[in-house]
Amino acid sequence: MGVDVLVARPVPAPAWRREAATGHLFVAPALLVLVALDVYPILYALWVSLHRVSLKYPGDRPFVGLRNYLDYFASDYFWSSVQHTLVFVVASVSLTTLVGLAVALVLHQSFRGQALLFAVVLIPWAVPSVVNGLMWKWIYNSSYGSLNGVLWSLGLIDRYQVILGDPHRAMAALVNAFVWREVPLVAILLLTALKAVPEDLDKAARADGANAVRRFLHVTLPNIRTGFLLVLLYETMLTLRTFDLVYVLTEGGPGDATSVISWYTYSETFRNLNFGRGAALAYLIAVATFAVATWYLRLLAPPGKRAR
């Protein structure tokens, strides 16, 4: 009796699947790097934030659940640093954007020496943040600072003023140092947005008799809206995480007058060696930054496409 033997032939995978497999293979190294450098640290930080990890007691790492987070909500120092952070963010972002816009509008005009002015405006941005902090620390010094020297020479003050040792002035000084360095970047970004505004629109508005203010409000501003919001998004995220300037200029003082939340995180982690609490605070900053970014991105979407 003859037996028919059916030999199964391998069925080749469809072309799209082969392509997908090759694609995954190519993406895999990058994905591995991403997991190792981003995903793992994020998850590890979450694990740390749920434990009492203190280098003062390295052998003891009990699970504390949300205690590290809840302790902050009950801490006056935390709320005080939240308040200082809000003041710093609102003042810095508003001033940086407004001054940056003014500079961009000036640079958008054609005049002699425009190229030179453009180069000069860029200088602060070339200064590293830590150097910027050190420079302003010298400028603000109450004994030999150049700001006091200039004001005194002009007869505007009769004695050298304390700036970084005064709680209110210290925050203003911090904001000023931040704005000075960030304005060039904002000006460049907004200048790029201004360059993209069609000239015809401006000409048409001019022909309709609109003055400069009306043309700016009704023609220029709506057309640079996207660039404007991007600047706001970037600067807000930057200010929320600003640490280096505070570290160099005030170390959160005097008292806790300039203790913003990023400084508090650093202090808790590296000075007090409380890595668990530090990680919890870093997570809170990340959540806040994410919330702000989402809000801005919603604003960025065209009106018809905004999620309700």
Binding site: R52, S142, S143, G165, E251, L273
Partner: protein
């Protein structure tokens, strides 16, 4: 045929035989290099804070010359030292010998980063020759953790010329007398704010606060390490009230005190901006050297003014060379680290505390080795920038910071600086500020 083949291979570049031969040569070279490296002693990794770097490099070059061991020396600014070292320890950076501040000993030892040096036979002799206060500062839970880099105390210095111009022949003996003299100096327009204190919220602030409290006969902690500074009759509260009065009512305290760090304070005083100043004793050299001070020759040492219950006490500190636990775990590294620690903080083959003496000659850094007090060169130099007998007397009245021997001291110190600053700025009531600081201490103790 072979010629043709050779020709073809030549065209291709390298023959298989050449390639294998080359690989063999590279492997042999690497192997020899590795063997040579394995035979050569490994370098000793030393990290300290930035002070006199070229001088330290010279000292280390001499060590390398004598021992044949290489030293990899790194340094971090004092203001960033604590945080930078924590990052290094956590990141398992190669460290064998490190500078240690007495304020960090408990935390670093408890974290398992430092190793005691008890096991070395030379330690017994060092115990007999080093000042007890320095030994105490380097001891944690009964074990010695290093040999001294330097030991010093917070000194009260004054500008003699300014006092004379104001009509005073002697410096103030009490804090009340200081206020009276300062007011006269101010009235006569000699300087606007005669008293300079560096109260910026950095590691130096605690030394000033301790000196002010000790000089009033007070303490911050009792023997059971319980805070006593939050009591209504404490010397700390008296000090805080005195500082507020000096700043607001008398206006004799430098208005920028809260933003003035140690170096900025030194510059201001050496620029003639104040009549009275609290600083590390060793700074008298800089203050009385024309190249670094405009008031050189006019700066004198006096006993720390005292409060009602005080006896001119001040605060003292010790910085030392410690061995890392990582080095102690490896016999070769341990031997190298101990060799370097002894060279830097101990005696040389001739039995002389050579490097501590050099540091004293270089920067007037105080030493803890008692034999050096008998050294004629040292004795001569000791009187060069300030009265030697007075230095000895004040040194005898220098007390270590009570409360140091707990791992949370640095964390409490951070909190305490903010609390004191807020009270001085009148953002908080002084007693409330001290109570919040004491509560912080107790909460840290409970953890």
């Amino acid at each position: 045929m072979s010629t043709v083949t050779r020709g073809i291979t030549q065209q291709r570049g390298i023959s298989r035989r050449d390639f294998v031969g080359g690989l063999g040569a590279v492997a042999t070279t690497l192997g020899l290099a590795r063997a040579a490296a394995a035979q050569a002693p490994r370098p000793i990794h030393l990290v300290g804070w930035t002070f006199g770097v070229p001088f330290v490099q010279e000292v280390l070059a001499e060590f390398e010359k004598r021992t044949g061991r290489r030293v990899n020396y790194g340094n971090l600014p004092w203001a960033q030292y604590h945080d930078g070292m924590v990052a290094k320890f956590v990141g398992k950076a190669p460290l064998d010998v490190v500078y240690v501040s007495d304020a960090d000993l408990a935390a670093w030892a408890e974290a398992g980063w430092l190793a005691p040096i008890e096991e070395f036979p030379e330690v017994r002799a060092y115990r007999e020759e080093l000042l007890p206060s320095a030994l105490e500062a380097m001891t944690y839970k009964g074990k010695l953790y290093g040999l001294p880099y330097y030991t010093d105390y917070m000194a009260f210095v004054y500008n003699e010329e300014m006092l004379r111009r104001a009509g005073f022949e002697a410096p103030p003996a009490t804090w009340d007398e200081l206020v009276r003299q300062a007011l006269v100096i101010k009235q006569k327009g000699i300087v606007d704010a005669p008293l300079l204190l560096h109260l910026e919220a950095t590691t130096w602030m605690i030394e000033v606060l301790y000196a002010l409290v000790y000089s009033r006969g007070g303490r911050l902690f009792d023997d059971r390490l319980e805070p006593v500074f939050d009591r209504a009759d404490s010397a700390a509260l008296e000090t805080l009230h005195w500082l507020i009065e000096a700043r607001e009512r008398h206006r004799i305290l430098s208005p920028g005190a809260l933003e003035t760090g140690e170096i900025a304070g030194l510059k201001a005083f050496s620029g003639g901006q104040a009549a009275f100043y609290l600083t590390g004793r060793y700074r008298l050299k800089d203050l009385n050297t024309p190249a670094t001070s405009q008031v050189a020759g006019k700066v004198k040492l006096a006993l720390m003014p005292r409060g009602r219950a005080g006896k001119h006490q001040t605060v003292g500190w010790t910085r030392f060379y410690g061995m890392t636990a990582a080095a102690a775990a490896d016999p070769e590294r341990k031997a190298g680290a101990w060799q370097l620690i002894q060279y830097l903080g101990g005696r040389n083959a001739a039995g002389v505390y050579e490097v501590p003496k050099k540091f004293f000659q270089f920067a007037w850094l105080g030493f803890a080795a008692r034999p050096l007090f008998r050294d004629p060169e040292v004795k001569a130099l000791l009187g060069q920038y300030a009265d030697a007998a007075l230095q000895e007397r004040q040194h005898g009245l220098a007390l270590p910071k009570d409360g140091l021997k707990v791992p949370w001291f640095t964390e409490w110190d951070q909190f305490n600086r903010v609390a004191w600053q807020k009270a001085i700025l009148r953002q908080t009531d002084p007693l409330t500020a001290l109570r919040s600081s004491a509560d912080k201490w107790r909460s840290l103790r409970r953890v």
